[in-house]
């Protein structure tokens, strides 16, 4: 009985969905079967694969760029209190600005296309990662740092041999959350700034003919892929070797 539980809510949802679709006034909202057929249609036309790849391509580039820049920056800022005091307010000011608000500027700088979208994803992932890395450093228990100093480690070695391993669990959590953000943003960016990808699919399907079945199909794909991305990193978190987290 317990194993059936996770499916109960989904089943209930699908049932409500069917009911809602067949009792609507506009006649445009698709029922689950139509969505399924829409998905298959996209698959057959080769568009589904093409769009998924496009979205993943942009996410990967923007996200990876953010990872290799934000983590070192964050670690440094966490280590040098002066650096943090100086730059943190600027970071906090930039954080609430929706990546989409950067669209006009990014189009101005990069034109309409992949680079603009990648820039947006980079922006969206950079800030949370940098802040989280900063905090991870600050949360390393001072006793560990003192032990490092006690054994005569240089600053650089303390960074690599004490701080980095100690903050690794938190960093991985931050990586997962930023990946989620990146995925959210790629969809939004594609709705405006490019002409391929899952976000584009959603806007285009509606504009080019009220194909709401494709709209919802796109949403379902977005949810699924986002779920897979999230689950993959969670696997990383679960690795026993990394379970030395204190105060998970």
């Amino acid at each position: 009985m317990k194993r059936l539980l996770p499916f109960s809510a989904i089943t209930a949802l699908v049932v409500v969905w069917f009911w809602g679709a067949h009792h609507q006034t506009s006649g445009l909202f698709p029922d689950p079967l139509q969505v399924l057929r829409g998905l298959v249609g996209l698959l057959q036309r080769g568009l589904l694969a093409k769009y998924v790849v496009a979205s993943l391509y942009r996410v990967s580039w923007g996200y990876l760029l953010a990872v290799v820049t934000a983590i070192p920056v964050g670690l440094l800022l966490g280590w040098y209190r002066r650096g943090e005091l100086a730059l943190n307010p600027l970071l906090q000011l930039l954080r609430p600005i929706s990546p989409l608000a950067w669209i006009p500027i990014s189009i101005l700088w990069f034109g309409v296309g992949d680079v603009a979208a990648i820039f947006l994803i980079f922006l969206a992932s950079f800030l949370p990662l940098a802040v989280a890395s900063m905090n991870a450093v600050r949360n390393v228990p001072p006793t560990l740092l003192r032990a490092g100093r006690n054994f005569g480690l240089s600053n650089r070695r303390i960074l690599t041999e004490v701080i980095l391993p100690a903050s690794l669990p938190q960093l991985i959590v931050a990586l997962r959350i930023s990946l989620g953000v990146a995925w959210l943003v790629v969809v939004a960016a594609e709705m405006i700034a490019v002409n391929s990808g899952l976000g584009f699919l959603i806007v285009d399907a509606r504009n080019a003919g009220n194909r709401y079945d494709l709209v919802v199909a796109g949403m379902v794909m977005i949810g699924l892929i986002g779920l897979v991305l999230d689950a993959s990193i969670r696997q990383l978190e679960k690795m026993k070797a990394l379970k030395w987290g204190y105060g998970s």
Binding site: A9, R81, L87, Q92, P96, G199, Y212, M219, I222
Partner: protein, 258 residues
């Protein structure tokens, strides 16, 4: 590391701001761009917006939309989180739904939102609700799950029924984590409202940005709008942080704020 004085705490960020503005101004000057605004132009743009009398209303509209979607998310999300945290079976049932819906950007819901609500105020409100709802539910759920069993045992020992237990023990004990979720949700709500306004309505700060570009490449207004968004968002977050710290300060909960 030596302790930092209060002077440094204020001066360093100001110095950074000054440097940033300088670099900005120089970059604009050196690249001889005709479109990207200099800091001074942005300031003038702000003044122009103020003079036109749209600054207040736009900010008000954005805040208003945030309020309606966010409050609805709060009112529905906290009880939902309490229920899910308290009944693990419910949590197992709804978890797949939550995990599937969460990665879908609220903006991906725009076509559906317009279909269901038309181009009205309800559409962005719905999007904001969507964006805020999940963090609140998840944070509340986690708060409930991490209530120390000792409190629950003590509550039962004193003869509290389940509704009383939830209200008088579980909710206060979970409050610090609920407040963290509320703060995160507020940040998300602010981001979503700006994005929603770029697509679905004709007022507000998000609209200001997209309109300034489309209706005449007024990038000075674009950047001015961005600055305002940043400042107000920061103010909202600071407010939320203050509120979040209250239980810690008064009740001595040990919580790590994200």
């Amino acid at each position: 590391m030596p302790t930092k004085s209060d002077a440094e705490r204020v001066l360093l960020p100001l110095a950074t701001a000054a440097v940033a503005i300088l670099v900005w101004a120089l970059a604009v000057r050196l690249s001889q761009t005709s479109v990207f605004p200099s800091p001074w132009k942005v300031l003038l743009g702000l003044r122009e917006l103020f003079g036109r009398g749209v600054l207040g209303p736009y900010i008000g509209d954005s805040l208003r939309r945030v309020a309606s979607g966010y409050l609805l998310a709060l009112v529905l999300g906290i009880p939902a989180g309490l229920a899910l945290g308290w009944h693990p079976s419910l949590a197992s049932a709804f978890n797949p739904v939550i995990q599937m819906a969460r990665p879908i950007s609220p903006l991906a819901w725009i076509p559906l939102a317009i279909l269901w609500f038309g181009v009205s105020e309800a559409a962005p409100g719905f999007l904001i609700f969507l964006g805020s709802f999940f963090p609140i539910v998840v944070a509340t759920m986690n708060g409930v799950k991490s209530v120390p069993s000792m409190y629950l045992l003590a509550g039962r020992n004193f003869g509290l029924s389940t509704p009383r237990l939830l209200a008088r023990v579980v909710f206060p004990a979970a409050l610090p984590q609920i407040l963290v979720g509320l703060r995160i949700a507020l940040g998300i709500a602010w981001i979503v409202v700006v994005a929603a306004e770029m697509m679905a309505v004709d007022s507000g700060l998000g609209y200001l940005i997209i309109d300034s570009r489309n209706a005449g490449k007024r990038y000075d207004l674009v950047v001015a709008g961005m600055l305002l968004i940043g400042i107000i968002g920061l103010a909202l977050d600071t407010l939320a942080q203050r509120l979040e710290r209250l239980p810690n300060v008064r009740w001595g909960f040990q919580q790590d704020t994200a």
